[in-house]
Subunit: 295 residues, 2 copies
């Protein structure tokens, strides 16, 4: 059994991004610049954001953070987005979720300049993805694709079962896995809360992507011997043995599934780390698109 | 066995569109207006276009056609699109495909004002569809959904197999069937040319959407007793018994499949007619969106 180690894969990607940035030159000589906007101080959000900022530092991407109060108005928040949209020194814009509860998420996403939308959230970028055009692929699905690529997981003609149909994970990864591209060409089934026979489907799958947000949902009796398991869950569960009082658990019951499958991505240390690498790769892409050159 | 009769269903939709248009009033009192642009005089394109124009007449939608030479330049074609985009008296814009061979399809599609894109081709509309937002659904997938709705075909929790992953049919219908909406909530598998076990998958399906463009591909031995079969194929095959020398055949071998399935859409007289109803419905939607009222 092979661990699809996100630490290993993301380190390799960060190294290659660093080299690409070092060797690239632009009309004004500046490096790529990622700007994050965060409202409030949710500890989990701060922790995610921190990892991204660290990744920027490691690869030579300039980073900046616009910190706003949790009770900021939607209009003031959008004004900040527009400021970043218009700032020629910024290539990528990241909105740290979750947004304040009183916000209309769709309105916020629509305010992002699609050419700076390194999280791939804007409808025009989601549309390009659905149409197979070059675009910013949302961070988590792109992270999964980078993981498959790093470990050279064959997907052509395989049956992939994606559990979850969310806009940010299930839907885009199902499109990526089934399109006519390297690490695509799989036959993809999307399961969700109304699927009646998830177990049978998973048992027939060569590749399972678990992205439903239920800790330990996928158990050994649900998977085929020798399949590839991608765990996208990041669930916080009570754990008295930890100082913090909780532990991070994936959607896969790692202990039972690992011995039976061919390859598995662990949580933590799997897809989560790849997501950060994906954001950084998208930032470099935004920078390259702007200066119309490839490093 | 039930025939999913597109003639019956589309007539009902056209009747309801006609009533909606009759009973609606706008600031300037005009009716919805659909404009089509066609280059060259491909007989099949002329025939499709003619059906749409007839549908306009039947429902009270004003129609107009901009006819261009097959050897028009891409830029001149785009100028015509922009003229329609800027014409406040036109609500819906239809580009009749296929385009001249020397055109960049993506460039043409991007030139369409998304708010007049009644064929749902523009990336921003494809993105809204993928994100589950209100939008213009492409005509053929919308036609299929209208057919399922008219005949009250239950899809929740069913296994739907879509054969074909095209941008205009396979991909969008797979999204529509699996989203959390009426006539959605199916567990959807997308098959394509690299799928190894199409027969097994179809045999496990409660609903098969055949959209691969191979006449008579789906045969009785590939389907489950009592399943629902939607035939999207419009293939022109030689037929000496016809005056024209050819006949229109679907992707389903109707003769063998019909006795075994629960419901089947015929070709011709099935999805094709629904596609026209869908274009007209999208035109009314564009008109309603513009005047921000619902009839």
């Amino acid at each position: 059994m092979q661990i699809l180690d996100g630490k290993l894969a993301s380190a390799a990607i960060l190294e290659s991004l660093k080299n690409a940035i070092l060797s690239s030159s632009t009309p004004n000589g500046r490096t790529p610049h990622l700007c994050a906007i965060i409202a409030g101080n949710n500890p989990a959000s701060e922790s995610y954001l921190n990892s991204k900022i660290k990744g920027c530092a490691a690869t030579g991407i300039t980073s900046s953070i616009i910190r706003l109060d949790a009770d900021i108005s939607e209009n003031e928040f959008i004004q900040q987005i527009e400021k970043v949209n218009n700032d020629q020194s910024i290539d990528g814009l990241l909105i740290q979720f979750p947004l304040p509860a009183h916000f209309n998420e769709s309105k916020i996403i629509n305010a992002i300049d699609p050419s700076k939308d390194v999280d791939g959230l804007h409808p025009v970028n989601a549309g390009k993805l659905a149409l197979g055009l070059p675009t910013f692929v949302p961070a988590t699905p792109l992270g999964i694709m980078l993981l498959l690529e790093y470990f050279k997981i064959e997907t052509t003609g395989k049956h992939a079962v994606v559990i979850g149909r969310s806009n940010v994970i299930g839907r885009p990864i199902s499109i990526l896995l089934s399109r006519n591209e390297p690490f695509g060409n799989a036959t993809v089934t999307v399961c969700h809360s109304r699927t009646s026979n998830i177990k049978d489907l998973c048992l027939s799958a060569d590749l399972v992507v678990a992205a439903l947000g239920k800790p330990g949902f996928l158990t050994a009796d649900m998977i085929k011997e020798g399949s590839v398991i991608i765990d996208v869950g990041i669930n916080s569960v009570p754990d008295s043995s930890k100082k913090s009082g909780f532990a991070i658990k994936g959607d896969v019951d790692f202990e039972s599934v690992a011995p039976k499958c061919k390859s598995i991505s662990p949580v933590p240390g799997g897809v989560g780390l790849m997501t950060i690498a994906a954001i950084l790769q998208n930032t470099l892409l935004a920078y390259q698109n702007k200066f119309k050159f490839k490093s």
